[in-house]
């Protein structure tokens, strides 16, 4: 097919997630993430974007599990991999940043120690060497006075600082894939800008591929090269970011783009009424795949993993 | 599965004891006090006397049935008193805060520091033996856990939108505590209350055993044990069966309390779904 493109870091084919065979939450989602690429998954709550991210990490909570499809990551078949091997990949080759850094950090350990642990576990370093690397990692995420901050506990840091620490932990072992699930949703807008810039800079420098999961089209637009739109457990559209905003194909995407309040879009002298999603997309049109998805590897339906 | 089992077994045991207590008048073959016959004392179980007789020739089965009335009455009524005191203090302390909260907190800590049985003993010593004083003694000494739970739940509910909304809608504080907060903490209060019934039954037995609870010859499981103390070698059944009755009843209430907790805990419910 298209031989110029490198092999994807992550390849998701017809992924199905549900509770046994009774309740399906994700109905066959397929996408690739190329090395160094930032891929956005956008959708509303309940669209299945977060469980998709968790299934790649192998962190789905019971009774949820992957019921069908294939997940390939750097030559590993994530559906057949042994749990301990998957665990070894986590934090090393693939890492995740969550929405709420306070719950993702251990409240009883200094942050320097928590970052150092990554090096001890995955790189087999001894603690003193790992602690020095942890300070370096904090410095790389632009935490001021990193040596001092390494001794601080999570509650002593602001929300933005905690999220920087999470990014430092996630990127500590230079993973091939970073999954960021709403990484800045809990942060103030001025802090958000800094954290996003940081993720973009570090991943570009290291060539890390990013799966950015967000409900915020503004964030997605600024960060991602390609975007997949999820609705009701299906990937309804996938396009290059610019093309998606210029020419959204699925009515749901069009509705989503039209419904969001945009800064600077209110006309003086008028009320700022918004277009509602229902005006743009009928309920029966939602949650269907579009016939052909634009992907770097050609039409998705022909690919079998 | 496990949860359902706890709840079912607990409820079954409690209902069995309750039925026994209620129907004691009909199903007990002998009068627990009057049918004393020294000629038939210390008879082993079997025959005419289902569970044997005690040192004074009274039927143990009949005495256990009548004793269940005392145990249940003491357990349930004293726990109702405890739950009311604890809930009222806990909600008001959590809701108003300030000096009242400090006072209630201090009182709770004092109550937790004194072994409740010792405290009940002191009250019984002042009031003298009898059912009424038992209810008072046990009803005033075991409210601290209810109070704690009620207070902490109120603190977290207080800042929630619906309580704030009730305030802005003009409802009085008393009304808000009654209609907004109380229904939302009833679950944990009920659980603690149920678990406390077992404790209260044990406390009644202990006090009666010590001779300051229910006055003999009125049967209670505690004073039956106390009476059987001297016959433990000659007639062990006189001690075993009242002890078993206490065990089964306390176990029943504890299982019921556990089952209720799991049932009322919203996290457990979603996990099952």
């Amino acid at each position: 097919m298209n031989d110029i493109l490198p092999d994807p870091v992550l390849s998701v084919r017809d992924l199905q997630i549900g509770i046994g065979n009774k309740l399906k939450i994700v109905h066959g989602v397929s996408f690739d993430i190329l090395p160094g690429e930032t891929y956005g998954l956008v959708g509303e709550s309940g669209s299945g974007k977060s469980v998709t991210g968790l299934s790649i990490m192998g962190l789905l909570k019971r009774p949820l599990n992957v019921t069908g499809g294939a997940l390939h990551f750097l030559g590993h078949d994530l559906r057949r991999i042994r749990p301990r091997d998957h665990r070894r990949l986590r934090g090393d080759r693939m890492a995740m940043v969550f929405q709420e850094p306070m719950t993702a950090l251990n409240p009883l350990a200094p942050i320097g120690r928590q970052i150092a642990e990554m090096f001890v576990i995955h790189r087999g370093m001894d603690w003193s060497e790992a602690k020095a690397k942890a300070v370096e990692a904090l410095e790389s995420v632009r935490v001021p006075s990193p040596e001092e901050r390494a001794r601080a506990y999570p509650h002593q840091l602001s929300g933005g600082m905690r999220q920087r620490v999470m990014v430092a932990m996630a990127l500590a072992c230079r993973p091939d894939l970073l999954i960021a699930d709403e990484p800045t949703t809990a942060l103030d807008v001025t802090v958000q800008a800094g954290v996003l810039e940081l993720i973009a800079d570090l991943c570009t420098a290291e060539g890390t591929a990013v799966l950015l999961i967000s409900h915020d089209l503004g964030v997605i637009a600024n960060m991602c090269q390609r975007v997949g739109v999820m609705d009701r457990g299906r990937l309804v559209e996938e396009q290059d970011t610019k093309a998606l905003f210029e020419n959204p194909m699925h009515p749901y995407t069009r509705g989503l783009l039209a419904a969001r309040p945009r800064l600077g879009s209110r006309v003086p002298g008028e009320r700022g009424r918004l277009i509602e999603l229902e005006q743009m997309v009928a309920d029966e049109d939602r949650g269907h795949d579009v016939p052909t998805l634009v992907t770097p590897r050609g039409p998705r339906k022909e690919v079998t993993a | 599965m496990q949860l359902r089992f706890n709840l079912t077994l607990g409820a079954a045991l409690v209902i069995a004891v309750l039925l026994g207590a209620l129907t004691a008048g009909w199903i007990a073959p002998f009068d627990p006090v009057m049918d004393a016959d020294l000629m038939s004392s210390e008879l082993p179980p079997g025959g005419e006397y289902l569970l044997g007789t005690d040192g004074q020739g009274r039927d143990i089965w009949s005495r256990i049935l009548y004793g269940a009335r005392v145990s249940l009455a003491v357990g349930v009524i004293s726990q109702i008193i405890n739950s009311c005191i604890g809930t009222a203090l806990g909600i008001s302390a959590g809701y108003f805060g300030g000096w009242w909260d400090d006072l209630v907190n201090g009182l709770t800590n004092v109550m937790l520091a004194i072994p409740s049985l010792v405290f009940a003993l002191a009250i019984m010593a002042v009031l003298g033996p009898g059912l009424a004083s038992l209810l008072i003694a046990l009803g005033l000494t075991n409210w601290s856990w209810t109070c704690r739970i009620a207070r902490s739940s109120t603190l977290s509910l207080k800042s929630q939108g619906f309580v704030q909304a009730a305030k802005t809608a003009g409802f009085s504080d008393l009304n808000i505590m009654r209609t907004q907060i109380l229904p939302n903490i009833l679950g944990p209060v009920l659980v603690i209350g149920t678990l406390g019934i077992g404790t209260a039954i044990l406390a009644e037995a202990a006090l009666s055993f010590l001779g300051i609870g229910i006055k003999p010859p009125q049967p209670s499981w505690g004073n039956m044990l106390s009476d059987a103390r001297e016959l433990i070698r000659a007639a062990p059944w006189a001690a075993i069966f009242p002890g078993l009755a206490i065990f089964v009843t306390v176990l029943g209430f504890n299982l019921l309390g556990d089952g209720l907790r799991d049932r009322l805990d919203p996290h457990m419910r979603t996990r099952k779904a």
């Binding site: 103030d188 001025t190 958000q192 905003f245 309040p261 600077g264 229902e278 | 939108g161 009730a166 003009g170």
Partner: protein, 326 residues
């Protein structure tokens, strides 16, 4: 003679005592709200925007009587709404009501929607029996629900529906002022649009006045008539929505607007931050946003200065010496 505005917040301050760092250490005071002056006219929507900890929510709670002011006043049509001479809880309920941020925590899980709404009518003696149920049904229809929803419990509704119920509850007593505390920030994008449109429709048909608290600049721009930007307890810029968004002038406002991720940037239609209004020569903006204010530190004297029609910005009172001018 000017008529007193519907609601006036005068020199409002709310201070909280912070725990001392050491047993005999200095007493530390957090100035959550520090000398805020705002007013709301009839039928107007005042948007208060700022980041967490800027005091916007505390200001809202003070207006609702859920937080006592440390100093300053809140006046309703010239009558005090706080401090001595303030009306009781019941009277005040008919003046202002609030819509809360979290639609899940703002409804009593043990009460049906109907009983939540009916109990208000009963408490205030507005209506009884079938008249009361009719009112509840009308209100549910008005916010886009159906009358038989009254029989249901909160957990049977989606987030957007719950926010509609929250709005219905706030409107049940027919108040003049609605305080909206982040009314859409917990909702999905598509639901946000519905709720925002509903709020705007209700404002028009019921002639309501809104105070809308939000961290989301685009929502504030869409709904507000006037906007106040708050930063660490103070209003740093205030004015007509168009003035604030087309000529943001205070460095903090500019920083805030510049930080909003802009999807149009990928299309090369980058909006950028519009040009500021020139401020009088020799004056400086206050506070200096490059320095994070410490809790308890004394503050530089400053005031809101009019720099354009209905456009105010906070400048330091001290005027630089003439030598400093060019």
């Amino acid at each position: 003679m000017t008529v007193a505005p519907l609601l006036e917040i005068r020199d409002l301050s709310v201070h909280f005592n912070l725990p001392r760092l050491t047993p005999f250490g200095m007493r530390r005071i957090l100035h959550a709200v520090d000398g805020v002056d705002l007013s709301v006219k009839e039928g107007e929507c005042l948007g208060i925007v700022g980041e967490s900890g800027c005091g916007k929510s505390t200001t809202a709670l003070t207006v609702m009587g859920l937080q006592e002011p440390s100093s300053g006043q809140i006046l309703y049509r010239g009558q005090p709404l706080s401090g001595p001479g303030a009306p009781g809880r019941k009277e005040r309920a008919r003046i202002a009501q609030m819509v809360f941020q979290d639609p899940y925590a703002s409804l009593n899980p043990r009460q049906t929607i109907g009983s939540t709404l009916l109990s208000q009518l009963a408490l205030h003696g507005i209506a009884r029996g079938s008249e009361a149920s009719d009112r509840v049904a009308d209100m549910l229809v008005r916010v886009g629900l159906s009358p038989d929803h009254a029989k249901r419990y909160p957990h049977e509704f989606s987030g957007g529906q719950r926010q509609r119920i929250g709005i219905a509850r706030a409107l049940m007593l027919d108040p003049e002022i609605l305080v909206l505390d982040e009314p859409v920030s917990a909702l999905d994008v598509s639901i946000q649009a519905q709720i925002i449109n509903l709020l705007m429709d209700l404002q028009e048909t019921l002639n309501l006045s809104y105070i809308m608290i939000s961290h989301d600049l685009s929502v504030v721009e869409h709904v507000s008539d006037r906007v106040a930007v708050m930063y660490f307890g103070r209003v740093v810029e205030l004015g007509h929505w168009h003035a604030i968004f087309s000529r943001p002038t205070h460095p903090y406002t500019r920083h805030l607007i510049g930080s909003v991720p802009n999807a149009e940037a990928v299309l090369g239609r980058s909006r950028g931050v519009p040009d500021p209004v020139a401020i009088p020569e020799g004056r400086r903006f206050a506070p200096d946003i490059s320095v994070r204010p410490e809790a308890g530190a004394s503050r530089e004297a400053s005031s809101l200065v009019e720099i354009g029609p209905d456009h105010f910005v906070r400048l330091a009172d001290s005027i630089s010496s003439p030598k400093a001018k060019r």
